[in-house]
């Protein structure tokens, strides 16, 4: 962020003008489409969609802000306990996220955080896989050499991080943000235990809102046999919600497939 701010400060007035004109025009081009989507979804579901966007974005922001320094520290610093942190990181990363949901629920219950947005955002922000990705990204001989040169030139630790590590971390930050965003966006169990039983539909992410479309009151007929699927709204409206759910992930994946796909994942493994 600092590096970005720096770049903005250096940008000339004409560049700022150009950017504002472009942004204004982007608003003009995008608003009608956004309106159409919002209008089609309508009231409550729109609220869920914005909740989903808020939880996932906040989670991804925390994940990137913690993963980059942590991965960098683990890859380029020698300190007692480094190996232990790395091992715990890999173990937690290999545990399926669902395994942590009930323990997190018990903790949130004890801390009176149930139904609070923090109850989902903080767990979303914990992303050991991102730390491991950043660790691998910074754990190369070339990078080590670059750091040594900078330190010999008298760069302070903080300066090295701000001027070299942060700008170079952009690709891995984008990857961490995307993978974390998708994971939170599609998560169901965690928001379910935090919000479902407490009549807090205003806190629902879209994944829970969709589940709410299952009309449980009509599901069971008197004969105990289910003749057809009963839903709270029409199948076509539910289909629209499903399309909206997968749109953001698909757009990013289609744009960045080459880059997110195999070549990036290869680096994860030895």
């Amino acid at each position: 962020m600092r590096a970005l701010a720096e770049r903005f400060r250096r940008a000339s007035a004409t560049q700022v003008m150009a950017l504002s004109v472009l942004s204004l025009m982007a608003v003009f081009f995008a608003v009608p489409i956004v309106w159409a989507v919002f209008e089609a979804i309508g009231g409550t579901a729109l609220h869920w969609l914005l909740n989903s966007a808020f939880y996932s974005t906040a989670g991804a922001a925390i994940a990137v802000a913690l993963c980059i320094p942590a991965g960098y520290g683990l890859a380029t610093h020698d300190f007692p306990g480094r190996r232990a942190v790395l091992i715990v990181t890999i173990l937690v990363m290999l545990i399926p996220p669902n395994a942590l949901v009930l323990p997190l629920f018990l903790e949130a219950h004890a801390a009176h955080l149930l139904t609070s947005p923090l109850a989902v955002i903080l767990p979303y922000g914990l992303y050991p896989f991102g730390v491991y990705l950043a660790y691998l990204y910074f754990n190369t001989g070339r990078f080590e050499l670059l750091l040594q040169t900078a330190r010999m030139d008298g760069c302070s630790e903080w300066h090295v991080f701000k001027r070299i590590v942060l700008p170079l971390s952009l690709p891995v930050s984008a990857l961490i943000a995307f993978l974390n965003f998708v994971a939170s966006w599609t998560n169901f169990f965690l928001p379910w235990v935090m919000y479902w039983s407490f009549d807090t539909t205003s806190r629902y992410p879209l994944a829970l809102g969709i589940a709410l479309q299952l009309d449980t009151t009509k599901g069971a007929s008197f004969y105990g046999a289910l003749i057809q699927l009963h839903t709270a709204s029409s199948p076509s409206y539910i289909a629209l919600l499903l399309l909206v759910t997968c749109a953001p992930v698909l757009i990013v994946f289609a744009l960045a497939q080459r880059w997110i796909g195999s070549s990036q994942l290869q680096g994860v493994f030895r």
Partner: protein, 286 residues
Amino acid sequence: MRPRKSGYLFIAPYVVLLVVAGIYPMAYALHLALTSLTAHFSGARNFIKSWQDPEFLPAFEHIGIFLAIWLTALVVLVVGLSLILHSLDRRISAAFRFVFYLPAALAGSASVMLWLFMLEPGVSPWTFVLHWLGYGTLGDSIAERNLPVIFAVIAFWSGAGSWIVVMYGALATIPHGVLEAARLDGAGPWRTATRIKLPLIKRWVAYMLIGAFAAGTQLFAEPQLISEATGGILNQTWSPNQLAYFLSFQLDNFNYAAAIAVDLLAIALISAAVVLLRTGLFRVSD
């Protein structure tokens, strides 16, 4: 000469969250599992009680059947499809990988919802298949004996694409020279795939199997939503996670629920340790 102390500053924020949202909740669940409702230490009593629960064994049996189907499908189809993709032109295989990955974009609940429509003969595009199988109503197609297969299909539909991306990535690391040498020695595509490529990606297949096993034991959204859709006719404690959830909400017995959560955590941790120690895929030192 690598800096030392400042390393703590860089990892501190992450370690704090790792404790708050990772290690502490696990420890707290273990603590609850070892205490009675009246907050006294009760040893393994909650565990023994939960193992004797009439719902406990059936839940693990259900998951076992589901896992057997799902893991077989993963090994055969993901490995097979990845090998086929790897022998294709790069651009064609990229298009197919994208299509296979598509369902991963749907939230857990969204994919279940979608599959409820797929299984409802009234709206499904697969009605002819459902009729051919003799299913006239939704009740027929989601009958209890079909559930493990249905969950395996949903899990495979939404998860296989990501594994294909990983497996294809593993295949892409095979040096070109190795494949070229095999070709010169007269190995056809089948021989190359089974004798050269397959042994080289063995570790990734093991990782996928253990990872999918651990994730599969955690099944929740699918059985829970099918149970909702049927207005609770269907078992609300079909999977172990559902049972733990049911115990903590309906019965308000957190200690009892914590014991099951710890059982599931133990399975997950052991699987994670096996992946870390035995597959050698993850490195912890330079």
